[in-house]
């Protein structure tokens, strides 16, 4: 203000003072509003995280009281009878993940390489759209292709449905990881006389492998908990079965069936299954994190 007075030569007029005051007030108001909005953002972050905390706490509390050794070694008991376990569902889930990976990984990685090398925008777009399609649609699709013609539900159909879901996920992560490989590396290999296919497979793919493994594990973690595609394909099985041609039990299916059942014993079992399922997802996710770290570690 003092400088303003000297430049203008003389005391500020009433009008000037009013303008200055108004500006001050408006600045104060804008600051207050800014603080309020930032406060609201903090609140949003807290509210967004809250459900996760509630779910995890409840899961641990319920799971701790219902998990025991029998859960991992026995199969289910008749309704209303306490005890029993889900050994068949745990093994079933692992088998389904394995089938899905056998289908989804090679196709996904191959398609990812194609996208990274040929810059095919349409295919990438379709992969993204495929990724967003509801899993229940994948379920009825797999049913009409793999269950209806042979007239029986099977582990194979369930695994294939999950594998189809994996394809677009793995495709996109593979593409992104391959694109991160510096072009100079590819050029160096070509200059040394490597053929294109060997450059792609033993230089580019090899360099991007850590990231691709991470992407594959993330996709596996995601399909591990999928239920909707299994409802009409793997169906679930209350007995021990590892046959690919027969219906197979899976943790998510078991959780669903037990949760909507009227029996308290089954509700307890559902919570135990939920803990185990989250455990499986968590282990796969942690493995993905380790793979990522190793990749970045090697880069430094």
């Amino acid at each position: 203000m003092a400088t303003a007075q000297t430049t203008w030569g003389g005391a500020p007029s009433g009008r000037q003072r009013a303008v200055a005051e108004r500006t001050q007030r408006s600045i104060r108001r804008r600051r207050v509003r800014s603080h309020i909005m930032i406060g609201l953002m903090y609140a949003a972050a807290v509210i967004a995280i809250l459900p996760l905390l509630l779910i995890v706490i409840h899961l641990l509390r319920m799971g701790a009281s219902s998990l025991n050794l029998a859960f991992f070694t026995q199969t289910q008991r008749p309704p209303g009878e306490a005890g029993g376990g889900m050994a068949n569902a745990i093994v079933g889930t692992l088998i389904l993940i394995a089938i899905a990976s056998a289908v989804g990984l090679p196709v996904g990685i191959g398609a990812g390489l194609y996208l990274a090398e040929k810059r095919a925008t349409t295919v990438r777009f379709l992969a993204d759209v495929l990724n967003g399609l509801p899993s229940i649609v994948m379920g009825i699709f797999a049913w009409s292709l793999l269950v209806k013609p042979v007239k029986h539900f099977s582990a194979l159909a369930g695994g294939m449905a999950l594998g189809a879901m994996m394809i677009p996920m793995v495709t996109r992560t593979t593409e992104e990881m391959v694109r991160l490989v510096p072009i100079s590396l590819r050029e160096a290999a070509l200059a040394l006389g490597y053929s294109r296919w060997r450059t792609s497979l033993s230089i580019v793919l090899r360099t991007a492998l850590g990231g691709i493994v991470t992407g594959a594990l993330v996709a596996m973690a995601r399909i591990a908990g999928e239920t909707a595609p299994l409802l009409f394909t793997a169906l679930g099985n209350q007995f021990w079965s590892t046959s690919l041609r027969a219906p197979i039990a899976a943790l998510p299916l078991q959780i669903y069936n037990y949760a909507i059942s009227p029996y308290d014993e089954w509700h307890t079992q559902a919570w135990a299954a939920a803990v185990v399922l989250v455990g499986i997802v968590l282990v796969i996710s942690l493995a993905a994190r380790v793979a990522t770290r190793r990749r970045y570690g090697a880069g430094d």
């Binding site: 804008r30 600051r31 509003r33 800014s34 909005m37 930032i38 953002m41 903090y42 609140a43 949003a44 972050a45 509210i47 996760l52 509630l54 779910i55 409840h58 899961l59 196709v107 996904g108 191959g110 398609a111 194609y114 996208l115 777009f125 379709l126 993204d128 759209v129 495929l130 990724n131 967003g132 399609l133 509801p134 899993s135 229940i136 649609v137 009825i140 699709f141 009409s144 292709l145 677009p168 495709t171 053929s195 294109r196 296919w197 060997r198 497979l201 995601r222 908990g225 999928e226 239920t227 909707a228 998510p252 959780i255 669903y256 949760a259 909507i260 559902a270 939920a274 399922l277 989250v278």
Partner: protein, 332 residues
Amino acid sequence: MTEIVARDAAQAAAATGVPTRPSRSWTEIGSEIGDRIYSWSITGFAAFVPILLLLIFLAVGLAAWPALRTFGFSFLTSSDWDPVAGHFGAAPAIYGTIVSSLLALLIATPLALGVAVFLSEFAPPWLRQPVAFGVDMLAAVPSVIYGLWGIFVLIPFLREFLMPFLRDTLHLGVLPLFNGPAYGSSMLAAGLILAIMCLPYISAVTREVLLAVPRSQREAAVGLGATRWEVIRDAVIPYARSGIIGGIILGLGRALGETMAVTMLIGNRHEISASLFAPGYTMASLIANEFSEATGDLHLSALMAVGFVLLLVTFLVNAIARWLVWQTAKER
């Protein structure tokens, strides 16, 4: 003489493991064949993606055809779903899908945008990592576990506390939306669980586009004397707008097709009710619930037709969302 030298050289090479230089033309032919095989095989793998999409449309569409032909347009508008009489109208399921998804977006969008802006602009470094991890984990929790939690925690909470509170304490009961008996399983329960489930998707895309906004955009606003909030509101968000909208629509796509949690919470009743407290149905939960017990071919076909409508809608929604996000990312 030269022959002997050449033979010696070849022997030496074989002994030391250094390869002799093969005829150039063979290498070329070999790598050309290899290149061609490689190119064909990755093209083949990539072809799976469009073929899969096409097969899905064909398989579901063909299976849906009998029902669509029988009922025509009334399939979408009739709310008469009677497997015994053989009448099928999917209006309640379509209505439920739209209402539950919009409710979810209404709740999730402000929160997701708040979290995304918080993470990309305001969060102190020590807080950023755990909050981002937590939001990512929300997306990693399997749908069926949300459903389980919903049945045993959310629904009792709604029935005992939130619904009476909204209806009686806040006197919102005068509105048809919050009227009626407080069933636990309801449109509201489905909307809330969907909000939790699509929040991480919206926030992840929003964060991504916010990060794509150039620094200069923020610096210019700060230089003009903007407060921290004004920088966001006037400089960052307008720049990222179409990407953010894309993220919201992507969240919508997730909400429309979400199956398990909704099936467990929405109450599964073929009825259009104005109240959010009443049970309803969504297209996905209708399929999940009735498919394995479908009686007769027409029932099955009607369920397939519901699936086909769901497929069409989510395909369009996803295509629009991807296009919008892609538009923003392209400007980078």
